[in-house]
């Protein structure tokens, strides 16, 4: 009996040891920590987590009878989360009961009214307007639907009537966004002229925000000399398509593209994420040390190589935005100045890693990421560190510069390697007119623009404070040599004066 107990104890001990081992194995899976950012030198700097996984939801967790298949769209509206279950031709509407629990409130797979088929076919995106009307990108049926709250069809948008579009091209609406006036912006597969814009009355009114075509000098020269026959075989310079878009709280559209090449990103020919205003111009602030295209390291790692390929973007109410990279399954957060705040994630099956990250959205400060391949929804919430960072940014935006500086100090206590904290403290000191201190903070993190702002003021103050001494110094600089010269001249005159030469 005693012996049996000993064996049992041994078994328990070895089991717990095994569990411990697998824990460490999991931690070691990441080359770096889970969350990181790039510093001025483009070196990876580990960071405490900004977002951490709270829960992951599979079809079973959501108590769906039919398992999700190939979901391609995620959309959050107020307290609701919509998953476009593309493979099952339906959209799942979830309601958030509390921070950790979702329940299915309805399943949208058909609607009433309308002229043609009234079921959905491979829906890829959904958007809800302020009035509560539901817009669905019904890709398989080549249309965008406008339904009312009770799924009664109001309108259908078809292929844009534009002479530049090929007759044979089938309209494939992929992602949509709706503004407050119920204008619809659509990213369509195979249309590279920008976003298709529809007015509230359903008429197509043009393309906005086309990405420029990219080519290199060599290709360009080659095309100049190539014959007609050769030209027909070469690929033409075509503008790249967008992959997703997001309408922020101010009505600006953030659009991302995953059709990017490493050299185009590095030369700045292509921008992976853009903020479009009403007329389609890019107004994104880019004050960071490097452009906003996700990972700077593009080498091979874990079977994935090349640049980050953005598949979705979401914008918080403090103008920070998070881009989702489907290549390495990472999320990249940028602040309102375009500086990288954090990057986290990775490829894999553990919580917080993705196989094919396709959609990202947020409710409040909670982040939701949808994985197309595993059909899993993962929820993230801000950690203590993340909350501090967000608070510091918000306080600065609201004009509480003192408070913002203090919050950044708190951030620095948790992560002394966080460049944004130094720059944040510097900016708050700058607003408090403490120029000398601000300069030190900017210099540490090589922020030359802000440093110059502070230094300009400091220099002005210094000159004003020392104006008397500067004048005295300048006068002395001119007068003393003049006086010395005068002295020698007079002495010379006296020595050579006629009256002293006696024996002439």
């Amino acid at each position: 009996m005693k012996r049996a107990g000993l064996i049992l104890a041994g078994a328990v001990a070895s089991l717990s040891l095994l569990a411990l081992c697998s824990d460490t194995a999991q931690a070691a899976m990441h080359e770096h920590g889970y969350t990181y950012r790039y510093d001025y030198w483009e070196d990876v700097q580990d960071s405490p987590d900004v977002f951490s996984v709270t829960e992951s939801y599979t079809s079973a967790d959501l108590m769906l009878e039919l398992k999700m298949k190939n979901p391609q769209g995620l959309y959050a509206h107020e307290n609701h989360l919509y998953i476009c279950d593309t493979g099952n031709n339906r959209i799942i509407e979830l309601i958030r009961d509390d921070a950790k629990h979702f329940s299915v409130s309805r399943i949208i797979d058909s609607f009433t009214g309308g002229s043609g088929v009234n079921t959905l076919s491979a829906p890829t995106d959904i958007a809800i307007s302020e009035d509560g009307n539901v817009f669905i990108a019904d890709q398989g049926n080549a249309r965008i639907l406008k339904l009312d709250e009770n799924l009664e069809c109001i309108m259908e948008y078809g292929k844009p009537e534009d002479s530049a579009l090929d007759e044979g091209v089938v309209f494939q609406p992929y992602k949509i966004a709706v503004d407050t006036a119920e204008r619809v912006y659509c990213v369509a597969r195979g249309i590279n002229k920008g976003l298709c814009k529809y007015e509230a009355d359903g008429s197509f009114s043009g393309f906005v925000g086309a990405l420029p075509a990219t080519y290199n000098l060599w290709d360009y020269l080659w095309k100049k000399v190539a014959s007609q026959e050769q030209l027909s075989k070469m690929t033409s310079f075509v503008p790249t398509e967008y992959d997703n878009l997001y309408m922020d709280y101010e009505g600006f559209i953030y659009a991302v593209t995953g059709n990017v090449k490493e050299e185009d990103l590095k030369s700045g020919q292509v921008t992976a994420v853009r903020k479009l205003n009403l007329i389609g111009n890019d107004i994104l602030v880019r004050n960071g040390d490097y452009d906003n295209y996700g990972d700077l390291y593009m080498g091979d790692g874990g079977g994935h190589q090349g640049p980050s390929l953005f598949s979705d973007v979401t914008v918080f109410d403090n103008d920070t935005y998070v881009c989702l990279d489907r290549n390495r399954g990472r999320a990249f957060g940028y602040d309102d100045q375009g500086r990288l705040m954090f990057a986290f994630g990775g490829n894999g099956n553990e919580d917080g890693c993705f196989n094919w990250a396709i959609g990202i959205d947020h409710i409040g400060n909670d982040l939701y990421i949808l994985d197309q391949q595993t059909a899993t929804l993962t929820s993230f919430s801000l950690t203590e560190f993340g909350q501090l960072v967000f608070r510091a940014i918000e306080e600065f935006d609201n004009g509480n510069y003192n408070a913002s500086g203090e919050t950044w100090e708190e951030v620095m206590k948790l992560n002394g390697n966080y460049d944004l904290a130094y720059i944040g403290i510097g900016r708050s000191l700058l607003r408090q007119k403490k120029y000398r201190e601000a300069m030190d903070y900017f210099e540490i993190k090589y922020d030359d623009e802000n440093y110059s702002k502070a230094f300009k003021q400091y220099r002005k103050e210094w000159v004003e404070g020392h104006i008397v001494w500067i004048v005295v110094f300048l006068l002395a600089l001119f007068l003393i040599p003049m006086a010395i010269g005068r002295f020698y001249k007079i002495r010379h005159d006296i020595e050579t004066a006629d009256i002293f030469i006696v024996n002439r």
């Binding site: 210099e443 090589y446 030359d448 440093y451 110059s452 702002k453 300009k456 220099r459």
Partner: protein, 222 residues
């Protein structure tokens, strides 16, 4: 031996000659043609002064890293090799001096190796003279005034280049056209020397690894 060295240190004549030749470098700055002619033909220059200018150039080059405002130069200290950094001046200078002398001596160049070295070092003077003040100046400018710094900085290099060309013309007693021709030819000579050096080093590595593998093989068989 030690007596002669100490004797030289307290030799007032030698000191004043050295100081004069150093001052003469500033005359060359403003009167390159006249100055570089006198440098060798009137024996106004000394190797000691040339060495001093070269060392000053190297010191300013290192000081620039630390004391120039970060607006203009940011240094990744972890990967900085100070000797390699100094070699960025010393190596081209050595190649230039040897290459130029080797070529011009075949084509009626009057300058000797020592004189080519001396004149080249004298021609480097604008670098410390201009870079040192603008290094200090860089700390009182903002990004908007960045251009001042870059233009003056570039000017110092152009000035050095022009002085070197003028100096070579004078010490070799070349005409203008011939001087330009030999300046370009010297640059090619530098390229050829780099090529030969690379060839030499790769040959040596190959040779060494051959012998190493041979010895390993023998040890393995024995």
């Amino acid at each position: 031996m030690t007596e002669t060295i100490t004797a030289r240190f307290i030799n007032k004549e030698a000191w004043s000659k050295y100081i004069d030749s150093l001052k003469f470098a500033f005359y060359c700055l403003t009167h390159p043609l006249d100055g570089f002619w006198d440098l060798t033909h009137e024996k106004r220059g000394t190797i000691a002064a040339a060495n001093t200018i070269l060392i000053a150039t190297l010191i300013v080059r290192i000081m620039k890293l630390r004391y120039t405002s970060f607006i203009f130069i940011t240094v990744y200290w972890e990967e900085l090799n100070i000797f390699l950094y100094l070699a960025s001046i010393l190596f081209p200078l050595a190649l230039w001096v040897i290459g130029n002398w080797a070529l011009t001596t075949l084509f009626d160049g009057k300058g000797r190796l020592k004189q080519v070295y001396m004149a080249s070092c004298y021609a480097l003077l604008p670098y410390p003279v201009i870079q040192l003040p603008i290094m200090l100046l860089s700390n009182v400018v903002t990004v908007d005034e960045r251009e001042f710094y870059s233009v003056i900085s570039a000017l110092s290099l152009v000035y050095c280049g022009l002085l070197i060309i003028a100096a070579m013309g004078q010490i070799h007693e070349f005409s203008g056209g011939k001087n330009i021709l030999f300046t370009i030819a010297s640059l090619f000579a530098m390229l050829v020397m780099v090529f030969i050096l690379m060839l030499f080093f790769s040959m040596v590595t190959e040779g060494v690894s051959y012998i190493v593998s041979l010895v390993r093989e023998m040890l393995f068989r024995m």
